[in-house]
């Protein structure tokens, strides 16, 4: 069994209304030291694979197929045995 941690974030030039709204809320709560905030997704995936390489391959392809909208998002991941 392998454990993959996948981090999905907005591409820089894409509008992130969610992050904006959270930042504004924090400012209203007087956290004025917050300069910017962006909200992304974080997946923890447990999967079976014959090797780490095979696991990485699967992770790469589920990112492309489903987890990530490549029009708007970028991603990175770590895979470890676990």
């Amino acid at each position: 069994m392998y454990l993959a941690k996948i981090y999905v974030t907005h591409k820089p030039s894409i509008l992130d209304p969610q992050g904006e709204a959270v930042k504004n809320a924090l400012h209203r709560l007087n956290y004025t030291s917050i300069d910017s905030i962006s909200q992304g997704k974080f997946f923890e995936v447990k999967l079976n694979a014959d090797s780490k390489d095979a696991a990485v391959k699967t992770v790469e392809s589920i990112c492309k197929d489903l987890l990530v909208n490549q029009n708007m998002e970028t991603y990175r991941y770590e895979v470890e045995e676990g």
Binding site: Q18, A21, V22, L29
Partner: protein
Amino acid sequence: MKFAVISFPGSNCDWDMYYAINDALGEEADMVSSESTDLDQYDGVLIPGGFSYGDYLRSGAIARFAPVMKAVKKLADAGKPVLGVCNGFQILVEAGLLPGSLQNNTSMEFISDWAPLKVVNNRTMFTNGYSKDQVIKVPIAHGEGNYYCDDATLQELKDNDQIVFTYEENPNGSCDNIAGITNRAGNVLGMMPHPERAVESILGGTDGLTLFKSILNQVRS
């Protein structure tokens, strides 16, 4: 009776609630901004549906910090009726006035339809006009109406008769088919279905009007 309808940035059922009280019920309701801090002149508070602050982060999470929420708590502590519908329910939960949380519908899709509901507890100030186990028809419209709480909380809700409405056909995966609950004292009701959309027969039914009439009954008697 004089109600306050709380309007947050992004509330979109605020006017529906306002008209339900002023036109259909024939009582008085004011539109009150979420920035205001004083609700002392009101006999009850209605927190409407919508997408307060866009429902970004988690629905209701940002709204809970609005200045008005302190006043809502005060009014709730005084035993006056507080009703949260849909996003209003989510806000009450985030604010800790009601237990549990509202998660994504299991279909992960928004659902809008008429839902048959069972009145499980008709001895609350919101439901005294219904008979026990009466099935009423009220519209639902939500993406995050899947009520969830841990087992201990659920047991408490049951033991204290806090479950008020359940779905006849569960549309969203909520535990024990819960559609609406009260706080322990029974004066704060949160529900996903929209009673304010069922107050005129031209709109498809008046089962929701009975809820507002129940509040009047209680206060007047």
